[in-house]
Symmetry: C2
Subunit: 398 residues, 2 copies
């Protein structure tokens, strides 16, 4: 049965063909239609989009009561497969203990010790929590297993809830390899990668990722990261990179050089990094994760400068137990506006259209597209940042 | 029927007699009991508190599944009685338009134009939204009416949902009095105050408040504020002050001198202000409103320094359409920890015990006290800041 949605005060389509109206609200960027309606087909695809007074009939209808509708958030960077509680590490960091990535080993130990069903229940609860906050598409990385079996298990559990899985065996060097890093890189690029791609290149993981960070003794330097990414590319995986999170480094330029879909964090950039990102526009997205800067009391990346330089900027949560246990994209949007100089429209676009592109997706609300929608208890998308911290947006169940 | 609550991984009682356990988690300050139970009487009072293995029987029982329970948040500073939408003003401010209080007139016009039932519905929705985020007690100010009738109407509507109402006729000088400020002060301290207290000093308002701010042409200077507060005190109202929000000024010292229950904002303080607040400990609370600094891109007050100086520090939302349309106390707690150097325990204490004191309330979980509780979808209060932006706390319906 087709469904007609009415009572939409403002519809963000992300379709440039539709943008008009208030320039200062970013209507052109967001492809905003005011007083809109939407028809969804029985199989969950958008059939028709336009002004309410031109809407066709449908089998059933639902009135959204003057709310705003947006594309569901695409959270393109998360680490949801983990067990254990690191809240005390957070509290210690807030009173002065610095973050260097070492706490990841705590989550690795707890994750290895958890049963499949325990991990499955934790992931399901986190995905449900995200959906309740407007996220309809989620990428999930492995990286708290760090043995062949535990990485495979993490990816299998992630794949049960999303096709956007990322092999992050190169999250950190696990403690048992601390004195022989090369052997761990060999394990990641050899047996682990072989097992991940055994049933076909993307049977278990869509992408490969590496925490490239010379400022952490636990993470990987530029040469190690290149080895890992090139092996992943040769095996048929798309590339993602954790780059320039804790200080300047080679991660961003390496990602751009290798044609990664995304380089994430981008907290410490120099001019050459920004130029590389601008030159990689259309290929490599800079995914900013301001919840991490919030939760580690780091300076924020300059989102404004990146956009002005012509960089494709996405926003994601980085939901993880160490540096940001926030799954809230509205919170990331509010931080992008408050701390990174992005407009409310740019921030919403970054958390939908651009983050989608970094996963190879088209996230417009247009005929033929999946009706992955979120609804805001407010008349416009401006309220996402205006009402910081308040849960006013949720995925729309059709 | 009495109710036994079990499955409480961590209970914050705010009762200093109970504090023990982890010093670095603030257990002493919060009076934490781990693996706790609670008996609530048929009339909603706490009957018994203690370790679960010592719990008495009750008529019914409910298992909270290993969650943390805290006293419900006391939001001691809100402006919930308003109509209209100022999200575009927020968006403009985020791209550079400074805040000077002038936008209040926009809300005044919309509020005057709204019907009683419209205002009532708006207030009810906002209180419900706050309860869904863990707030069980709310103070509500008038101040978007600014005529005798509209201020009375605002207070009557607020009093329908809380006894903690505050007369804020002195929010700003309304446009129609811009050329005769003294006449407006006379109106506030004369006919308005007479009407507010006509049926007894606290029949309609518990407190009087003034926006003391020499840096805004719309607000009141120190002499005007003193006149208003002294008139309110003479009429039998408790005193509250908006002080030192936009720059240094006389508000904080005036509040301390006059024995106000609270002086709110405290964004720009000098040493003499801090000394006055420390000397007023036990009488005047400094209520910090970090959602305002977030939403106006202002520097944050130094909560750490205030606590270290011996000042009673409370946290509240300041939920209002201009400078902070966030009703989220968890968000304020996360900001207090990230931006103001407060520990998670100090922030929770500030948003419950200390904010309660500023309303003349005792907000401990102890026998004989009202069972105003909130429950966290996590095993400890640390998660309130650790999981910034995620809606994990709600008022507990008994």
């Amino acid at each position: 049965m087709s469904l007609l949605l009415t009572g939409i005060a403002e519809l963000t389509t992300n379709d440039p063909a539709r943008g008009d109206g208030h320039a200062d609200r970013g209507d052109a960027l967001l492809g905003v239609v005011r007083d809109a309606a939407l028809v969804v087909s029985a199989d969950g695809l958008v059939e028709w989009v336009g002004p309410a007074d031109e809407a066709p009939d449908a089998d059933t209808r639902r009135d959204l009561g003057g709310r705003a509708v947006i594309p569901g958030f695409v959270d393109s960077h998360t680490h949801l497969v983990f067990a254990g509680d690191r809240s005390a590490e957070f509290a210690a960091r807030m009173t002065g203990t610095p973050y260097d990535g070492g706490g990841i080993a705590v989550s690795v130990a707890a994750t290895r010790a958890a049963s499949d069903d325990e991990l499955r229940a934790l992931v399901a609860a986190r995905v449900a929590e995200m959906r309740a906050q407007g996220t309809t598409t989620v990428e999930i990385k492995s990286g708290y297993g760090l043995t062949l079996d535990d990485e495979l298990r993490s990816l299998r559990i992630a794949r049960e809830v999303t096709s956007h899985t990322t092999f992050l065996g190169a999250h950190v060097v696990p403690p048992e390899y601390a004195s022989d890093r090369a052997a761990y890189v060999d394990l990641v690029t050899g047996p682990m990668l072989d097992a991940v791609t055994a049933d076909g290149p993307t049977s278990l993981a869509e992408s490969i990722d590496v925490f490239c960070e010379p400022h952490s003794a636990h993470a990987f330097d530029g040469d190690e990261a290149r080895t890992i990414l090139e092996a992943g590319r040769a095996a048929g995986l798309a590339l993602r990179v954790h780059g320039n999170q804790l200080g300047p480094g080679p991660g961003v330029r390496l990602a751009c050089e290798l044609g990664a879909r995304s380089v994430d964090h981008c907290t410490f950039l120099d001019d050459a990094d920004v130029e590389a990102l601008a030159a990689a526009r259309g290929t490599t997205v800079a995914t900013l994760l301001p919840g991490v800067e919030f939760s580690t009391r780091s300076p924020y990346p300059d989102g404004r400068a990146l956009i002005d330089a012509g960089v494709d900027v996405a926003l994601a949560s980085d939901c993880n137990p160490g540096t940001c246990y926030s799954s809230s994209i509205p919170f990331a949007i509010a931080l992008a506006v408050r701390e990174m100089g992005m407009t409310p429209a740019e921030a919403l676009h970054a958390a939908t259209a651009v983050s989608a592109r970094s996963l190879g997706l088209d996230r417009r609300i247009a005929p033929g597209q999946p009706a992955e929608l979120a609804v805001i208890d407010a008349p416009s998308h401006l309220h996402l940042a205006y009402r910081a911290g308040v849960p006013i947006v949720r995925a729309l169940d059709l």
